[in-house]
Symmetry: C2
Subunit: 212 residues, 2 copies
Amino acid sequence: MTIVWTYDWVPEGPRGYVRDIRLRWALEEASLPYTVRSVPFEERGPEHVARQPFAQAPFLEDGGITVSESGACLLHLGKKSEVLMPRDPQGEADTLQWVIAALNSIEMVTVPWWLVGMSRPDENPLEGWMRQRLEQLEAVIAEREWLAASRFTIADILMADVLRVPKVRGFADFPAIHDYVDRACARPAFRKAHADQIAHFAASDRQREEPQ
Amino acid sequence: MTIVWTYDWVPEGPRGYVRDIRLRWALEEASLPYTVRSVPFEERGPEHVARQPFAQAPFLEDGGITVSESGACLLHLGKKSEVLMPRDPQGEADTLQWVIAALNSIEMVTVPWWLVGMSRPDENPLEGWMRQRLEQLEAVIAEREWLAASRFTIADILMADVLRVPKVRGFADFPAIHDYVDRACARPAFRKAHADQIAHFAASDRQREEPQ
């Protein structure tokens, strides 16, 4: 049984966006059995850090193997199911390329752009970098339904999750990226993963409200 | 035969730091045969973009397969040689985790921190994020020689390459990170890769200086 570890609770803002959704989504796409367990959001002790060195979530436990970093968890799951990762050499290489592009060419720009923009909304020094990368990506996505190997893969889970963040989505009018995110988020596996994450955190609210 | 594609020329500043060094280093570690070819640095046309959608270098050609993104190229090479990537499940999962950590938890901070710092050296809004991540990494590296699976892997190539950048190295005194980078860069495979990259760009200077 695969165990997805995530926080026991997060504030309203990030609900629906905590990265455990990437793991849930992949597991739903591949119909792999899994369960979800919680680590404390507020107190992250040495036991947590031993499993996630940057004191974040999620991490994965799978038959005695532990792995953290959502991208690495998806590459690990990709080895378990061809639904997630093609087995022909060029298809696999394409998938690796777009998995890394999502994390190291797009998210490496979108997350710091967002962080810097919180303190300097009017003159963000990462604005030009952000625009250039999204323009380049728009040109690719305008020509294809999914990023790698002419089919849906873990690369689309990562890229769509990076791009669906409201701030990124509102950055500029990139119609192909917009349609791509809509297409990805309309998949039943995404909808299930999203609803389950919302329910997970709502349940922790109810526990907090119950009299001791 | 594996072909590493890189620029024909770059300015003095990035020489020794262009990311083709990650591919050269991995190929040298694994004693895999390869050759290096060039694409124009100054004019990056549609043929370049077809192989690297963000108009960057390097990219890899390997028996008809093309793959870009240095992290993806290293994962591809890891499948070809156990020297680069352990074959036992936990060792492989560890390597995936630290490959992605290098690209998505450390480089995602160091590169934008450097970019933002060029325009705002005295009040960089990414300073705290940078310090926190390097402190967390320092705690890990203080306890081990290499990041994953108790041995040198492609995760160390990526992490050491991210950390050896002079700006990052000069950020603060993290003695374990400092020693780790020294240890990695003392390896014969790194020295060969570094010297070869320097020679590659020096040769293009000579070609430019020669009378037509």
